[in-house]
Amino acid sequence: MSSPFIWIILPMVFSLLLWFMRAKKTWVLLSATVFCLFLAILAAFAPIGSIIKFGAWTFEISPQLSLFGRRFMLGDSDRALLIFVYAAAAFWFFGAGTASVSRLFIPLAMGIVSLAVAALSVEPFLYAALIAEVAVLLSLPLLAPPGKPSGQGVARYLIYQTLAMAFILLAGWAAGGVEANPANQTLLGETVILLGLGFAFWLAIFPFHTWIPLLMSEVHPYQAGFILMIFPLIAMLLALDFLNAFAWLRQYPALPNALRLAGGLTVAIGGIWAAFQKRLSRLYGYFVISEIGFALLTLSLSSHVGYLVFVSSFLPRVLSLAVWALAMSALSKEMNLDFDSLKGLLRKKPIISISILFSAFSLSGLPLFAGYPVRQVLLENLSQQSLLTMIWVAVGMAGLLIGVFRTLLVLISARERTWQVEEAWQPSVLLVIGSSALLIIGVFPYWFFPSLYKLLDAFSQLI
């Protein structure tokens, strides 16, 4: 048995099974959560590529699977990645139970997760662009559920992701040419431009970010949140893969500046627009855009510390986005997500309100929350490299904070002074756990982040 069979083929087959069973929503939800947890635990305890003794049995999980002459590789160094991806999936699937998602969500999301792992493991990795596009196509029914017309956000999402595929494929071909002839500076420049455009479309970097807030205002918040968690995560890991594979790309002199410029602008644009939002779901979209900008800034550090911060930021990001998306889903069942409708919500739904605020505080990088430790290290290192970028980042962070404090003001500004708490217990339990986790990670980061550093094991050239 091979590791790609266990962590790619099995989940794909399982997602098909879940598709046929989709009418039994609770069963599908629980089995998907348990299955993902099982895969995460298996990745934690089963070494890949060495003999495993289990009682009288001895067997080996081989790291390779060949398909049509191409290889899918998931070695021992990829185990941390598998643990993270499947644990995050289990977390999102479990939350889906209280989020009133479409019955297509779990089967399709499971398929998307397995394709994400396939994209990260395929060799040569230009095929990752094609696999990611298949995942994008699979995600469309989640974004335009039956019975609802598809909006502009979905259309732009599809267009930009398809453009990304084309650019990455061409960049992959050109990269082969650069490997063969590293002295050709023209080809090198063209390859970097193609790669840059590909990732700009993939990651929704400014000015290709417009679909994110649109999507958030059109689609169920939990489903849109999942898409905005998984696709940028795949693209970021693939960016690490490219940097790991190509020495010429790591050493390209203009790369840190380009990343800094793109990251700084994306953070600033996300923050400035966040300050003016009047709808909670769109605010979430702009926070996602800023997070992508911060990820680019960590990559721009081009140092070991930068890569450590890059992988460490995955946990607070995934957790904050999940908690916020779950809180919005719980709200969207009963009310509009406009600020006008949310006035005084703290007195009616304190747990949901506090969860939204905690997630936003964490994503803004406020002290004592999960996002703070990584943000602090990033800003400390960035300030030594570029003061101009720091100004852009400061503008963006100020915008994010204005957005958060406007939300806080809306939530506490009650027309009536009495407390009328009416919250469902199922989402509340999950939200309390999630919000507490955001605080605990923020207060004790060293309990959690060192295990995330192992994600870099898959990228040996970056260590």
Partner: protein, 195 residues
């Protein structure tokens, strides 16, 4: 000689069909134009690939068109932004500008993709016209026509540099997936399924 003439004819056919797709207000006719476009794409790809492999592009293109034609966008396909003669003239002018841009940048592109001009003209015209279509509409049915046009152009250029069977297979899968997704999104509002 005849191959050269047919290749030039293919490029002209690509330009003509892509202009028709830009201005057409009838879904069925647009799908027929898309099918003819795939015939020209097949001919151009056949210049650099073995015929059986190039046939995959044609078959997949026609299958995609067949999938798309099953969904009828009805009124949604009618473009209400650029209406009447001024709208038609504006779109034709935009298409001619795309043609001129392609004609002027194609020689420069040979430095990057080393191939004949017909391949570059064909690929770039479709990419340009596809992007034009995508930029001029917000209608989901027209967006898919634009995506297919752009993707066909990309596939012509990519056929020059990559001949892997797996890539061909995956691109075929993406084309079919896109057609199914298009068909689904066009009709999504009419499908009933409980939450």
């Amino acid at each position: 000689m005849i191959v050269d003439v047919l290749s030039i004819f293919s490029v002209v056919l690509l330009f003509a069909t892509s202009i028709f797709l830009l201005v057409s207000q009838k879904w069925r006719w647009s799908i027929i134009a898309l099918s003819i476009q795939y015939l020209a794409v097949f001919w151009l790809v056949g210049l650099v690939w073995a015929l059986p492999l190039a046939t995959v592009k044609l078959v997949v293109g026609w299958m995609s068109a067949a999938v798309l034609v099953t969904s009828d966008p009805g009124e949604d396909y009618i473009d209400r932004k650029f209406v009447g003669l001024p709208g038609l003239l504006f779109r034709l002018l935009a298409a001619i500008m795309i043609g001129m841009i392609v004609y002027s940048i194609a020689p420069l592109m040979t430095n990057f993709i080393d191939t004949g001009m017909v391949m570059l003209w064909g690929g770039l015209i479709l990419i340009g016209m596809g992007l034009l279509q995508l930029g001029m509409t917000t209608r989901i049915s027209r967006i898919f026509i634009g995506l297919f046009t752009m993707l066909s152009g990309f596939e012509i250029l990519y056929a020059v540099v990559e001949r892997s069977i797996l890539v061909t297979g995956l691109l075929a899968l993406i084309n079919l997936g896109l057609a199914i997704a298009g068909s689904y999104l066009i009709t999504a509002s009419n499908i009933e399924e409980a939450q």
